[in-house]
Amino acid sequence: MTEPKIRIENISYAYDGAPALRNISLEVQPNTITVFFGPAGGGKTTLLRLINRLNDLVENTKIEGRILLDGQDIYAPGVDVSQLRRKVGMVFALPLPLPGTLRENVVYGPKRAGVRDVRRLVEITERSLTQAALWDEVKDRLDSPASALSGGQQQRLCIARSLALEPEVLLLDEPTSGLDPISTGKVEAALQEAKKNYTIIIIPHSIQQAARVADYAAFFLMGELIEYRRGREIFTTPRDKRTEDYVTGRFG
């Protein structure tokens, strides 16, 4: 195996003294899609947010352990959180395009990061939309309002917006939960394309999606990491009885 892109070391996390994650350790390989899955309340979203330090401002929480990105502790003193978030992009369940045109959405991040060269912004727009598998559908209407896009297109626009900053890691929390199967298929295709350049962690909205996209899959249950293996193994021959019960739908 190559050097992991992300190394999660003995992470424990609690909200108001209630443990949400218990001693989680796992390594995320570069240029793969890693799936966090499991029943609600298992800790998968919490862990995803910790990788982006989205919980920094949540009060009464306690984090133990380390999260390393390329070997650097992202919680070390002096780490610039906005720099971290340039490297680690996040896409949420509900697509939230910014007011404005498609083009404005895509170049918003790069512009704020100081890119002024128009030719460069045009390149970024095409590259990001292509990587998000949206370019062919929208290339002739880049200056129309983003709100006019379908839900599936809006979600791919949000992925493109994240990719415009050329992050190294892309985190997605149920990115297709509100989409129809065709849009979902397009988003999944976009992720398969994007993993060539990025490291992707996704919380899928169903086991079937988990099985479709996972290079690696981590099963979380009540704050514990139960099983973490190659996707094609975990969905055909899980080792842990609890994983088996969950993926076969006999959980509970």
């Binding site: 086991i207 079937q208 099985a211 969905f235 055909t236 021959t237 899980p238 994983t243 088996e244 993926v247 076969t248 739908g249 006999r250 959980f251 509970g252």
Partner: protein, 225 residues
Amino acid sequence: MPRKTFELELAQLETEMLTMAAQVENALTEAVDILERRDMDAARALIARDHDINAQRFAIEAQCLVVVATQQPMASDLRVVAAILFNVNELERIGDYAKGIAKINLLIGPGPLLKPLVDIPRMAELTRSMLHRAIDAFVRRDVALARVIPAEDDQVDALFEQVNHDLIQMIIADPSVTRQANLLTWAAHNLERAADRVTNLCERVIFTVTGELIELDTDEASPLE
């Protein structure tokens, strides 16, 4: 039980496979019994019954696809469905071997056999018993049983070599028996192949339980397969 319909559908698939296996088992021993009795009508009836076995196989296959499409089985459930799909194919082929013996019976015609059959009925009974226990092992998810059955294939192979040897001796002694001796060798060969397929069924028991696909073939020294 959170997936009651699915549980029922899986159980139904298994029951249908069992029904099919029972028919195939019967066909195997019956084919040899009919051969001994020189019963042409019964041979024709057995050949006709093979269509039912084939139809069952297609029906189970179709039902497996419905279960996959509607229930999206995963993990051990998925392996059960995959194993049933595989098993019905093997069972159908074993049924074809039985049908083949019935056809040989017709080719030999109503006259007497060269000699009373001794080893061929023993092959049929051994193979039937192996098949019965292999299916039992599947139903009970009994890996230990599945592991021991394939070793018995060596006995079937040894009997086949004995039959072959005896019939060649008869041909050498009297070349006019060549045609029937050849046909009887084919009948024995069908049984030998049927027993080999039982080994495949045993491998699927292990796959169903553990997810591992391993070969249980024991007679690597044999020139036959």
